[in-house]
Amino acid sequence: MSYAGFTWKNVRRNTRRAILTMLSVALAVFVMVTLVSFVAQIDRNVNEASPLRLITRHAVSLTNFLPERYRAQIERIPGVVAVTELSWFGGIYIDEARTDFAQFACDPRTLFDVFTEVTIPPDQKEAFQRERTAAVIGRSKAEKHRLKIGDRITLRPRDIPVAAPLELTIRGIFEGTINNEAQLFFHREYLEEVMGRPGVAGTYWIRVDSVDSVSRVSEAIDALFQNTDAPTKTETERAFTMGFVSMLGDLKQLVATISSAIIFSLLLVTGNTMAMSVRERIREIAILTSLGFRRGTIFWLLVAEGLLITVSGGLLGCLSARLIFGALDLGAFSQGFFQQVTVTGPIIAAGLAVSAAVGIVSAGIPAYRAASVPVAEGLRYVG
């Protein structure tokens, strides 16, 4: 019999125990992989931010508006390629549950010059720019809400004192990010009109010509408005997104604490299983030694057994997490905060590595002790 066959036979000696242990590893790894994936997703959103984009907001906070005349001054700074206003509009589409996308008022002429990674057919882009009440929406949300070109949608204002709801017509569907195709854009002109022309913008989004211009341009913008009623704070898209993430609190530490508790508890569970199955076999192990098997070989055979159980459990946990989160519509659950959570290859690899480590440690200790029991004593052992 080969070593592999021997290990397999031993694992199956107490099938129920092996399966229960494997399943508890699978469940624990599932929880861990899920938590880590959520945190990693947040990181990925931060990293997707373009290094060439800057965001100018009111220095005091995002809830303060900037005057619309700032735009012309920003555009004159050398190195600035394109500028668009983006004003958040917290409207309700049909009802709260279906409002799982953010809506922004923008400058339709420059929106796609600032977000160059986004693609939209040229005729749709033109139609969007032409019509005052036109809107564009990301593909994933368009598909989810079954919206097609020419559909009319109504956004009821929630917080902003606006006279009437916005009546928009979908004129384009864009692809390839602005946060996973999950936002809607419409004309700032239209919003200004229904709000009675306050002449304000929430933020300015700026594309610069090269990485070298980033800090120079952002300093130039802030210097320009330093001594006005509305001083600005300009930062890269990355820093801006991080600011949002940090508002959630110390997620990373929380997840790290929970994960380490889970790993420790896994060690205990599998350690218990391995200790039990090794104890039952002390006599057999003594027989193996007396037959001439090296103690090292016996040790590794027992460790392989633990590994088989924990790694298969880990694999089950990782794969089920991947399948479940691939199929789940998280946008609806989290009101648009998470559009999608992907359990990536590296996270799966990490999950498997943790399972393997748990297997080695938990089987290693009893295996070492069993392998070092003197033959005579082992043969005499009554379990």
Partner: protein
């Protein structure tokens, strides 16, 4: 006839290490679950315990939060003299018109900023919130660009210690006092004079108005009055109600706690099952002997269930002890409704501990049932002949 508990105790002690490992793994699962739930409870308590039931908050109809609400100066003059509003001995009504703005402050130990609420109060603003007391420094002077900062906030953010200068609005503000709001939502705020804040932000309007009613009947009357006055376009509700609605902020944390508890709970059940199956296997002959001595099947079943629950109970107790140190640890998260950070403390309440114990017992019951059933179903003759 039931098998004495002493039998279980001794059996458990025989397999010390195995028992201990299982107990500890249950303990960890219980601890993690209570810990996450303590986070949600802390956030909820901070919001729920905010406000006085006799305080009535008036804001613009349709505004989810004070941040997006507007109350005109005319409306304020009418509101404060409404019948049913409590007055001070000198005839001044107990009412405050507040302005709420959000500013961005860097955290301590990092350049990363977070949003913080600044509230401008009318002179009666403090009297309306008697649980808020100064713990250091003095009250701000109206018209002097002075602020007082909550202690919890000042622990978490730069430029918020006594004597520091903060920059927002049209210039610098001096921190002259530190207050403690008794673990309510006000513990996440900076307070100052409403008129100074209004002129800094060019505000013609207030954000909200807070009125103290003389009694409950008067409170109801004031609310009905505000709601029925069409020209106001305002809405009124007890202050406590307004903050209770914000407890939604704890929703995601709760969901995470439930998710973790459910899945890890099943995992812990499997671990308990393993231990109990092993116990049953080791004691096959003992069980048979007990049966021969005349103990019925149900008493065997009961005995093993009791043993399993016992293990889980010990695990539960250890889990509760493990999680106790996080009680009171301050943390913060985003309250999207006010668009600012709310500071709160983990709260390990007796109710949570009880829930944790019930959770542990459940693990014990579920984990013990199948092994116990197997033990009870054994045929004594076959078992005695074995091994």
């Amino acid at each position: 006839m039931a098998i004495p508990l002493k039998y279980n105790l001794r059996s458990v002690l025989v397999r010390r290490v195995s028992t201990l490992l299982t107990v500890l793994s249950i303990a960890l699962v219980v601890a993690v679950t209570i810990g996450v739930m303590a986070l949600a409870t802390g956030l909820e308590t901070a919001l729920v315990s905010t406000g006085d039931p006799l305080n009535i908050l008036v804001r613009r109809r349709g505004a989810d939060s004070e941040l997006s609400s507007l109350v005109t100066r005319d409306a304020w003059q009418i509101l404060r003299y409404l019948p049913g509003v409590k007055t001070r001995p000198d005839g001044e009504p107990l009412a405050s018109a507040d302005i709420v703005v959000v500013i961005n402050l860097p955290r301590r130990g990092s350049a990363q900023g977070a949003n913080v609420t600044v509230r401008g109060l009318s002179p009666q603003g403090m009297a309306l919130r008697p649980h808020v007391r100064l713990v250091a420094g003095r009250m701000f002077q109206p018209g002097l660009r002075e602020v007082i900062v909550s202690r919890r906030l000042s622990e978490r953010f730069q430029q918020t210690s006594l004597g520091d200068r903060l920059r927002f609005g049209k210039g610098e503000w001096t921190v002259v006092g530190v207050f403690d709001a008794g673990q309510t939502a006000f513990d996440s705020e900076i307070w100052t004079d409403v008129n100074q804040l209004a002129s800094d932000y060019n505000r013609q309007f207030y954000s909200s108005v807070l009125l103290r009613a003389t009694d409950e009947a008067a409170a109801r009357e004031i609310i009905a009055r505000v709601e029925s006055e069409r020209r106001f376009n305002l809405t009124a509700e007890p202050e406590t109600e307004y903050f209770r609605e914000q407890t939604r902020a704890a929703g995601p944390i709760k969901a995470m706690g439930m998710f973790i508890a459910f899945i890890l709970g099943i995992g812990a059940c499997f671990a308990a099952m393993n231990t109990m199956y092993a116990a049953v296997t080791y004691r096959t002959r003992e069980i048979a002997t007990l049966r021969v001595l005349g103990f019925p099947r149900w008493s065997i079943l009961l005995s093993f269930m009791v043993e399993s629950v016992l293990l889980a109970l010990v695990g539960g107790v250890i889990g509760c002890l493990l999680v106790l140190p996080v009680n009171g640890v301050t943390t913060g998260t985003a309250n999207w409704q006010t668009f600012s950070e709310i500071a709160f403390a983990f709260r390990v309440t007796p109710r949570l501990l009880l829930a944790g114990m019930i959770f542990a017992i459940l693990i014990g019951l579920l984990g013990g049932f199948f092994p116990a059933r197997q033990a009870a179903r054994q045929t004594p003759v076959l078992a005695l002949r074995q091994g």
